[in-house]
């Protein structure tokens, strides 16, 4: 919708006037690009040296990771440049692929076929359409949004109310009912649970990440002076700003609308933090780890790695506070929680893979890069990060 409005404007003007990107975000994106280039160069150089001290398995994992990060970065960057609708659509495709891997890994029976068709082609697209519209009807701007809002009496409705329960309630009720209709009762509960869980993890949880871009963010940071405002960003043109100021005295006397930052920057920050927490946990585990959390689930995850990783993530997250509406200590807390959730996601997915007897979701069916392996921590962290941001840093009234 944002694109339709402004597509005749020059691109940069679009980005800035939409409050979408801003200078701090550019900085962060630049730093990440440089870091990725360095990582790629190191990985490729080591690969060319046959007698290196690094073990080939480790190097292969590293290079795979770097490739996955480039992919993630490309998706986020495309979203950053082309607007929130594109971000949501791209995340939708990631969900679709992850769901594909999950169901492929999970044995289902013939009787589940039609249910699976619903899961892939009805629930997944609907969830992302709802997330994509998001607050679009709260204050409809474009003619199409106004038409939809008026025709279906949706004006003023935040679709959060629907997309936050559509899968956990309605899809979860529909799935067992549809399996029952197929007439195959064998291991019924197990099959329902598998499909419900896969939809919950791959689609529902992940969809909270792109949902971040619709929040009207508030901040407790002191207001910046005018000179830095003008270089940093232009004030968003639309109503949320004024709305927020009206609502402000009631709920939060000290908070003000966060105008100097970009919402896309927050999404970028979130994905970056989750990925960094993976790396830090791995690094700490390699350096100090000797107390394995659960040897039968994952032999490489240790308590030392977990604690060290979460604390390091909190520190780095705090240092990047300037991209976010969070103050330094708030950014530290958010990053810590994100790291803990990410780790929980990694453990859960390890348990599932161990149960299925595979090491990577990618190797179950040969030759596929395991998307699920890369996003498991994002899936677990996204809902928590979203809700913390929603309740503490946004105007959701």
């Amino acid at each position: 919708m944002m694109i339709e409005d402004l597509q005749f404007e020059p691109l940069l003007g679009l980005l800035q006037s939409a409050g979408w990107l801003n200078v701090p975000t550019y900085w962060l994106v630049g730093v990440v690009i440089v870091a990725l280039i360095i990582a790629s160069v190191i990985g490729q150089t080591l690969k060319r040296q046959p007698e290196s001290t690094v073990s080939p398995a480790l190097l292969r994992t590293f290079n795979q990771r770097v490739r996955a990060w480039w992919m993630m970065f490309a998706i986020l960057a495309a979203g950053l440049l082309l607007g929130d609708t594109v971000t949501v659509v791209l995340f939708g495709f990631v969900s679709f692929w992850a769901l594909r891997e999950f169901i492929t890994m999970t044995p289902t029976r013939r009787g589940d076929h039609r249910t699976l068709f619903w899961v892939f082609f009805v629930f997944t697209p609907i969830q992302y359409v709802l997330v994509g519209i998001g607050r679009g009807f709260v204050d409809p701007q474009t003619p199409s949004a106004i038409w939809w809002a008026n025709t279906f009496g949706l004006a003023g409705v935040d679709l959060y109310g629907l997309y936050s329960i559509m899968i956990p309630v309605y899809a979860s009720l529909y799935i067992p009912a549809r399996i029952a209709l197929s007439g195959d009762a064998r291991r019924f509960l197990e099959r329902s649970a598998k499909i419900q869980f896969s939809l919950l993890i791959c689609v529902y949880s992940l969809s909270y990440a792109p949902a971040l871009v619709h929040l009207d963010l508030l901040t407790s940071k002191p207001a910046v002076n005018n000179s830095s405002m003008s270089t940093g960003d232009v004030v968003p043109p639309s109503a949320p700003n004024e709305e927020a100021t009206e609502a402000e005295p009631v709920s939060s006397a000290t908070r003000r609308p966060w105008t100097e930052g970009g919402r896309a920057g927050l999404l970028f920050y979130f994905v970056l933090i989750v990925q960094l927490s993976d790396v830090f946990q791995y690094a700490w585990g390699k350096l100090l780890g000797h107390r394995v959390i659960a040897p039968h689930i994952n032999a490489s995850r240790t308590w030392e790695g977990f604690v060290g990783g979460a604390l390091t993530t909190a520190i780095v997250g705090a240092l990047l506070w300037w991209v976010t509406p969070f103050r330094i200590w708030e950014a530290a807390c958010m990053s810590f929680v994100t790291a803990v959730m990410g780790s929980a996601g990694g453990m859960t997915m390890s348990a599932i893979k161990r149960d299925r007897g595979v090491t990577d979701t990618g190797t179950l069916v040969q030759g596929h890069a395991g998307v699920l392996d890369r996003i498991d921590s994002i899936c677990f962290a996204a809902p928590v990060f979203y809700h913390l941001t929603r309740y503490f840093f946004s105007d959701f009234a």
């Binding site: 679709f96 594909r100 891997e101 169901i103 492929t104 289902t108 013939r110 076929h113 039609r114 699976l116 068709f117 892939f120 179950l364 069916v365 040969q366 030759g367 596929h368």
Partner: protein, 201 residues
């Protein structure tokens, strides 16, 4: 290759998310008979699509005439992927399926066959029919290449018409030939084992 064929193969690849592994076997334009397990309507199309383009142009999937000749739409699809339709029901003298296949491939084409005959509803692979043996006997120069198709039965099971886009895997194994003095039963058993073995590689 026709536009329809290209579109069909792209759709098949997207739907089946198939990865292709060549195990002890390389893509080659020499005359081959790819024989595979059969669990889904998509088998022939996906296997055909997963061959490299130049080989695809030389390869014809053998399909049942009683099914693919029924409507003009089916005929069109079968024609655009250059399928070889064989009558399973009224077999004439001197026009046996094997004879027709050998005639059709001449000295250039390769074939895709499903020696189980029909699609298999269970997880266990069915016994192989004898056609493969006669092909190997009459044309000893043909490379007989086993192929294992994994997970396609979940993409489009028997009796369903809407596919579910899961990931599938096609494993193409080392070529084999009919050994001197090998009996029909022995050969068919060995061929079946060679397909089955690819499942666990």
């Amino acid at each position: 290759m026709s536009l329809t064929a290209t579109i069909l193969s792209v759709i098949a690849k997207l739907m089946a998310g198939s990865s292709v592994r060549w195990v002890d076997c390389q893509p080659d334009t020499c005359q081959r008979v790819y024989f595979a397990n059969h669990t889904s309507h998509l088998d022939a199309l996906v296997l055909w699509s997963s061959l490299p383009r130049n080989i695809r142009a030389l390869t014809r999937a053998v399909a049942a005439k009683d099914y693919w000749d029924k409507s003009s739409f089916r005929r069109y699809i079968a024609g655009s992927v250059n399928a070889l339709l064989i009558d399973r029901e009224n077999i004439k003298v001197h026009r046996s399926p094997v004879e027709l296949m050998i005639q059709a491939i001449g000295n250039t084409h390769s074939l895709i066959v499903f020696p189980e005959g029909g699609r298999n509803a269970t997880d266990e692979m069915g016994e192989f029919k004898s056609g493969l043996y006669y092909l190997g006997k009459k044309r000893p120069d043909l490379e007989l290449v086993p192929v294992y198709i994994d997970n396609l039965n979940r993409v489009l099971p028997r009796g369903e018409f809407l596919p579910v886009p899961l990931l599938s895997c096609i494993t193409i194994g080392p070529p084999m030939w009919l050994e001197a003095g090998e009996s029909k039963a022995e050969f068919l058993k060995r061929a079946r084992e060679s397909v089955k073995r690819l499942k666990d590689i």
